[in-house]
């Protein structure tokens, strides 16, 4: 890249005063000795002045009235309905719980047998029914995501108390998860 290309690439930022001190100095130094870039600078300044002169338009009063009427006709967004706090809260919780339960069931249920059957560990298990570390990690991530998602929904709904409960639940669930030994490891049940 030539010095001219470098300088013209920075001209917009130079005129707008958005360059750092070093870049500003480099461009200024180059401009002082390059007629071509000085012309480019003049064009940039002209364009800036012209663009600033593009007509402005005033939002018509009828449009403002139409917007107000449209908003009046809208049902209030759920987080505006303070009087229905409990109902909206329980709805959110139910939906979030369903998501969490669905993820947990989808991941854990098909693999539940080796987890629950302690005697089965001593026998070699077919590959398809044993938990690998990757599967366990993935299940943990999925379930963690579901719970984090639940907490974030509740956060958004400004249900701070419930969000705290969910966070505690999340922490407790995964401290339990971490404490559980991996079923595929030979000494896993000890």
């Amino acid at each position: 890249m030539t010095r001219c290309e470098l300088a013209t690439g920075m001209l917009t930022g130079y005129v707008a005063g958005e360059l750092g001190p070093m870049e500003q100095a480099i461009v200024a130094e180059h401009l002082a000795e390059c007629a071509g870039c000085q012309a480019e600078l003049a064009r940039e300044q002209k364009l800036r002045a012209l663009m600033g002169d593009v007509p402005a338009y005033e939002c018509p009063d009828e449009l403002t009235a139409a917007i107000t009427a449209a908003v009046d006709a809208e049902p209030a967004p759920r987080h505006h309905q303070r009087t229905r706090r409990f109902h909206s809260w329980s709805g959110t919780l139910a939906a979030a719980s369903l998501v969490a339960a669905a993820v947990l069931l989808a991941v854990v249920l098909p693999r539940s047998e080796p987890l629950l059957d302690a005697t089965a560990v001593s026998d070699p298990q077919p590959e398809s029914t044993s938990w690998t570390q990757d599967e366990l990690d993935r299940a943990r991530e999925d379930a963690q995501w579901a719970l984090a998602f639940t907490a974030s929904i509740i956060d958004k709904a400004e249900k701070q108390t419930m969000a705290d409960v969910m966070r505690r639940l999340q922490e407790e669930t995964f401290s339990g998860f971490r404490g559980r030994s991996t079923p595929t490891s030979p000494g896993g049940q000890g």
Partner: protein, 178 residues
């Protein structure tokens, strides 16, 4: 966001949103649609943030809506031909905005219209609204350097449309009217 906040933002930002839509789309009906949709989205799912960030949020929504409308309008134009340019005479402008340099300003808008909708909107944000490149990049989730390249190319394209004579004439008209 409660209704009081919404009303305040509507009052503060409506001219800016409408003006940006008009400058981008040059059609009062499309600009009205964009403005109404932008504020409805603000009401439905506007974030609970301070006014400065709300303004940035609205700018981004308006920018995206303008691009969508522009694409749709382009499709219609391709089917039906270009609209009557005299429709611009019906634009609702402030009386004090109508001045001897008005035609020249329209030339500037004509030149801008040759740019792709997204670039046009970015040029207006930077050169007209005075937003910094970094602010625009953050707002639109774009890289500052790619934004610089885009603006650099747009400047070249505008120069081709607004040849030197026209640029000087517009500048002279500005000086006379100022």
């Amino acid at each position: 966001m409660d209704r009081t906040t919404f009303n305040r933002v509507l009052t503060d930002q409506r001219h800016r949103v409408y003006s940006h839509a008009m400058q981008c789309l040059r059609d009062p009906d499309d600009a009205a649609d964009v403005t109404q949709e932008a504020f409805l989205r603000l009401w439905r799912r506007g974030p609970d943030v301070d006014d400065e960030r709300l303004a940035a949020w609205l700018t981004r929504v308006t920018h995206n809506l303008c691009i969508d409308h522009s694409r749709r309008a382009k499709t219609v134009r391709n089917r039906l031909g270009r609209p009557d340019p005299t429709a611009l005479d019906e634009l609702s402008t402030r009386p004090e905005q109508i001045d001897p340099a008005g035609d020249r300003r329209q030339e500037m808008l004509d030149a801008l219209e040759t740019l792709p909708a997204e670039t046009r909107s970015i040029m207006l944000m930077h050169y007209y609204q005075g937003l910094k490149l970094r602010e625009i990049a953050d707002m639109l989730g774009k890289n500052v350097n790619s934004l610089k390249v885009r603006i650099h190319r747009a400047r070249k394209a505008l120069r081709d449309v607004l040849d030197e004579t026209t640029v000087d004439a517009i500048s002279a008209a500005r000086r006379e009217s100022g």
